[in-house]
């Protein structure tokens, strides 16, 4: 009661409550900047939910990031144990103690070892705490777990009054304190410590849903400040605690109007000719075996070819399996992996809880700094949590990626039947573009088709395209749309063949006609040349005869002259010439 009165008076001197940043990923976002400065905060929770680690991280980050030394008063674990425990989170507690940035004071009390006789108070504890704080000018104090005193001290009445005094004293001292306590059955803490610490109460919880254990954090109370009241999943990873969400609550990320190709030219053409927007989120839904991974791999390869980095989260196949399978369609991914353009991260969805997956993904993304992130498939990841959890997770992931202008491609496996309507409606509203891959059944075969269901901010085709996978990659072809509906596969091929046959027939007819004409022309030419050779033969004959006649006339003339000379007759030239000509005329 005194505490509450004490508090209500100086609560609002300034417009905002001064806060003490914890440095714990996500916690400062939820609490709007950190724990109340100079006041005690109660962290309560059951066994194994991370109270001590949260408190220890508060101190370590205070010392390393904010230059605020801290005191850790441990009632349960010894100094050596604490150092070893937080070392697993990558915190060098021992080094901080050596450099006098943190003081650890292990308070040991064992009921069987002490006797009490008469009245006493816990001034010794105050003295120790005060000495530890003053020795390094500590700004932060952790009391872990104060409730061990209830087991160690026989007189609870004294303890309670002393605890009340302790919290008031901590406030007067001006240190920001974190007090851990066990979760009680009907109240927040087993021994009702929340009665004394009323400024800020954080509840940690570790529960199992569908065999998957998830840690949750909730700010039950934060006097004088707005805070997120939801239960937030958190996890304990290699570098401490991270509370999700890590991302902003508003929708105000920068956007890009740059377009990136999908690796499938026809698909680019369907999306206004230039592909997706950079930094947009793309959903690729499809029934089993419709080629979701192939489209993803194509997208990845196209990005790698542009010199970008691609992070491929695979929850179904191992990296080697993807590489091998893509090889069968002519996609060679291993050089890209070798050149560190493409990185795979494979994990079984049931390996751990949803938030652990998310945190692992965040960590990978931060480490690799990709331009494109592919999650294949997001649906098997969603099985790791409940519906609302998984939606929240996808929202966080998309928010986070968009804030970093990372293009994200999520494949989503839908069950058979009507894939379109069954697709995660909740999830699709988060996506900027939505491609649907579908089986088309008919004529005793299944064919793949692709639609663009939605593409925010760009003109896109409303056409159905048949999606062909061959050993040379993938291609989109127009499906045949005729009087009998949409034809795909061999029906489309058959229809094409029919059309081809008709064309062929008319071509053949024309060719035949041409051949006929040709033949007639050659016949004509042959006839002409025959006539010409006949004419030439006759003309030759004529010339020969004419020459023959000339020769004979000459020979006759000379013979007559010779015989006349023999008979000494006078020359009758003309008569001989006449007789010769008679012979000549008879001859031909």
């Amino acid at each position: 009661m005194t505490l509450k009165n004490h508090l209500s008076v100086p609560a609002t001197p300034g417009p905002r409550l001064p806060k003490c940043p914890t440095g714990i990923q996500g916690l400062d976002e939820i609490t709007g900047g950190g724990l109340p400065l100079g006041r005690p905060t109660l962290v309560c929770g059951g066994a194994g939910c991370g109270k001590t680690l949260l408190a220890a991280e508060f101190l370590v980050r205070g010392a390393t990031q904010f230059g605020e030394p801290g005191v850790l008063m441990a009632f349960e674990e010894t100094e050596a144990e604490l150092k070893a425990n937080v070392a697993s989170l990558g915190f060098d507690l021992a080094g901080l103690v050596r450099r006098k940035q943190i003081v650890i004071d292990y308070v040991h009390i064992e009921r069987s070892e002490v006797q009490e006789s008469g009245e006493y108070d816990l001034e010794g504890l105050f003295v120790r705490l005060n000495y530890a704080i003053d020795s390094i000018r500590a700004k932060r104090v952790v009391l872990d777990t104060l409730e061990a005193l209830f087991a160690g001290l026989p007189n609870e009445a004294i303890l309670r009054s002393e605890l009340r005094r302790l919290f008031r004293w901590l406030k007067e001292k001006g240190v920001t304190a974190v007090i851990t306590a066990e979760r009680g059955r009907e109240q927040l803490t087993r021994h009702g410590l929340e009665e004394y610490v009323s400024d800020c109460v954080i509840l940690l919880d570790h529960r199992v849903n569908d065999q998957i254990a998830t840690r949750h954090l909730r700010v039950v109370k934060y006097r004088g400040a707005l805070h997120g009241t939801n239960e937030f999943p958190f996890l304990i990873g290699d570098n401490g605690i991270s509370v999700l969400p890590i991302t902003s609550l508003g929708l105000n990320h920068k956007i890009s109007s740059e377009r990136i190709a999908t690796g499938i030219p026809r698909l680019d053409a369907m999306l206004g000719g230039r592909g997706f927007f950079r930094g947009s989120s793309i959903l690729l839904t499809g029934t089993p075996g419709t080629g979701k991974t192939i489209v993803s791999a194509n997208f990845a390869q196209a990005a790698c070819k542009r010199g970008e980095r691609v992070l491929f989260f695979s929850f179904e196949e191992s990296p080697n399996q993807i590489v091998r399978n893509m090889h069968s369609i002519g996609l060679r991914l291993e050089p890209l992996v070798k050149r560190n353009r493409l990185r795979f991260h494979s994990a079984r969805p049931s390996l751990y809880g949803l938030e652990m997956h998310l945190a692992t993904m965040f960590k990978e993304i931060v480490a690799f700094q990709p331009h494109v992130v592919i999650v294949d498939p997001i649906t098997s990841l969603m099985d790791a949590g409940t519906d609302s959890e998984s939606k929240g997770m996808v929202t966080r992931l998309i928010d986070y990626l968009k804030a970093g202008q990372v293009t994200s491609l999520f494949t989503s496996l839908t069950q058979g039947g009507h894939a379109l309507q069954q697709s995660e409606m909740a999830m699709s509203s988060l996506m900027d573009s939505w491609l649907l891959l579908q089986d088309f059944e008919g004529n005793g075969e299944r064919n793949r088709v692709l639609y663009v269901l939605k593409a925010r901010g760009m003109a896109h085709s409303n056409q159905i395209r048949e999606f062909l996978i061959s050993d040379r990659g993938i291609d989109l072809v127009d499906a045949y749309i005729g009087p009998s509906g949409v034809l795909t596969g061999s029906a489309r091929v058959a229809q094409g063949d029919l059309e081809k046959a008709a064309v062929l027939a008319s071509q053949q007819e024309a060719a035949q006609l041409k051949r006929e004409v040709e033949r007639k022309r050659t016949a004509l030419e042959r006839k002409i040349s025959g006539l010409r050779s006949e004419y030439e033969t006759e003309a030759l004959e004529l010339r020969r005869i004419a020459e023959q006649v000339g020769t004979r006339t000459f020979v006759l003339g000379t013979e007559r002259a010779a015989s006349g000379r023999l008979r000494q007759a006078d020359a009758k030239v003309a008569g001989g010439a006449r007789g010769k000509s008679r012979i000549g005329r008879k001859n031909p």
Binding site: D105, V107, H108, I109, E113, V114, Q115, E116, S117, G118, E119, Y120, D121, L122, E123, G124, L125, V127, R128, N130, Y131, L149, G152, L153
Partner: protein, 130 residues
Amino acid sequence: MNAKPIRKPAVIPALKRSRQARDRAPVVPRRPDKLWQLRLYVTGQTLRSQTAFANLKQICETHLKGRYRITVIDLLKHPQLAQGDQILAVPTVVRRLPKPVRIIFGNLSDAGRVLVGLDLRAEVAPNPTS
């Protein structure tokens, strides 16, 4: 249960004294061969500290006359000493010697509990001679 002293009796006069003491009173100082070192931790000269000191002194005078030494430590002056003896409550008496270390809280107003705490009297079984 009255456990026998484990170690051999070293100094005979002391033993003799202890036997006399046993005959005289039901309270038996055990391990009488050692000097008892007691520390009384207090914070300042409060009434409670003074009461505690007076009570302790009285008990020691009764049962450990001449064989004890009380060191009073004021934690306000020497706060660094609190951690070593795991001081939590004030006032606290710590029996440094003989071993093992024994701790008693409070102003020591209940002498019987102090005797049990200091292991001057067996905790469970009442002494048959009483």
